[in-house]
């Protein structure tokens, strides 16, 4: 399947934004992120420090490489791998019934627990990366194409934040529900 350059460029910009912001949040709070990695309990605890240091590097590298046409397909593969790892880690913990651990995504004040919705969100991002992996036939881009790309990226970025906030709200609402016992 082949997509128009408008779509692939927009998705590249969007995915780049998602990864760079994710890496930035992890750098802001390295100690907390190490605890989050431990919280997932998928790898030995001793490796948590290394992983917590490595993931933001991989994320920011992937995010920036997505912007460079020469290496964007490598970046797309790397994005798919990262997302796959995240989805697996979340699914494993959901299956274990540990659905209240911190997901480690987003800003520190936007704490949210892992959920099936998060897997779905990552699956959509995974699909975006897959689309980027199928480069379009070259066609000259007019100014109007760039207008659409910029506006669509802005809308997409906002939409991503809306989805995240909705997931955070969902967790907050859970704590509001009356408890018996």
């Amino acid at each position: 399947m082949v997509f128009d350059p408008i779509i692939t460029i927009t998705l590249s910009l969007l995915l780049s934004y998602v990864f760079v912001v994710a890496a930035f949040h992890k750098w802001q709070n390295p100690l907390e992120f190490t605890e989050t990695v431990k919280g997932y309990r998928v790898l030995p605890e001793r490796s948590a420090n290394a992983i917590a240091g490595l993931l933001p590097l991989l994320e920011s590298g992937t995010g920036l490489a997505l912007l460079v046409p020469m290496v964007s397909s490598f970046a797309a593969v790397s994005a798919m791998l990262l997302l796959l790892v995240y989805m697996l880690a979340i699914v494993v913990n959901l299956l274990r019934g540990r659905d209240s651990i911190d997901c480690g995504c987003g800003a520190p004040d936007q704490r949210q627990a892992i959920s099936a919705w998060l897997v779905l969100r990552n699956a959509v991002l995974f699909m975006f990366a897959w689309i980027i992996l199928h480069p379009p036939p070259a066609r000259p881009l007019l100014w109007f194409d760039w207008v659409v790309i910029v506006l669509a990226t802005a809308v997409g970025g906002l939409f991503y934040n809306i989805v995240n906030q909705l997931l955070v709200n969902r967790g907050l609402l859970k704590t509001l529900r009356p408890q018996h016992g």
């Binding site: 907390e32 919280g39 911190d102 809308v155 906002l158 906030q165 909705l166 709200n169 408890q179």
Partner: protein
């Protein structure tokens, strides 16, 4: 015609963008609202302990090997706050500064014991990193189990007669203060307080609605 389409498309894009901004703002506001409403009090969620119930006396070793008495009628006449935390719980460490300040300000009537379980080394580095040496720190599975603690961070406030004054999950300063508050007011928990308020409310409304018919 082509030009009109072009203009309309750009206009529509801009409208979509503005709508997305508005939706984001609304969703964010809802989030803030939930946050403001939520920390009104600590949730109880405890099948084992009941408020007002005397706590059985337990003799436990703290992390430094000192013998600590938890529960029973305290000899110094102080209340005890048993705060359940864990080095692996991210929320817990955001609450530590608050526990320290409570330790300082409520010193006259309150003793604070930190309780956890698991690996000894984890606790030692945790104590060193967050400067917790001033607290009695107990690592014991028995304590958590006998208090029916299932979610962290959790706190149980034991009054000066050795009875449970209040307890609940602690996620913020307001939660901890609500424990002190409910001890003072003699209300078991936020739920009970709301329950009472609702009961009083409906009592007051009942005659009014009777008159209107």
């Amino acid at each position: 015609m082509a030009e009109a389409l072009l203009i309309s498309t750009v206009l529509l894009w801009i409208v979509v963008l503005l709508m997305a901004v508005v939706i984001f703002a609304l969703v964010r506001q809802i989030g803030v609202l939930y946050e403001r409403v939520a920390p009104a009090g600590a949730l109880m969620m405890n099948q084992t302990l009941k408020v007002g119930q005397p706590i059985k006396q337990l003799e436990l070793l703290d992390i430094n090997g000192r013998l600590i008495t938890v529960g029973g009628v305290p000899r110094n006449g102080k209340s005890t706050l048993v705060f359940f935390i864990s080095p692996t719980c991210p929320v817990c460490k955001t609450l530590l500064p608050m526990v320290k300040s409570a330790h300082k300000s409520e010193n006259q009537w309150l003793e604070i014991i930190l309780a956890s379980d698991g690996d000894h080394h984890d606790h030692e580095s945790y104590i060193a990193r967050y400067d917790l040496a001033r607290f009695s720190y107990i690592s014991s599975e028995i304590l958590g189990r006998s208090y029916g603690v299932s979610k962290l961070p959790y706190a149980v406030l034991i009054d000066e007669q050795g009875k449970v004054a209040s307890m609940g999950i602690i996620n913020s300063r307001e939660h901890l203060e609500s424990l002190f508050e409910s001890k003072e007011r003699g209300v078991a928990s936020l739920q009970e307080y709301i329950h009472r308020a609702v009961a009083v409310d409906s009592d007051q409304q009942a005659p009014a609605s009777g008159n209107s018919h």
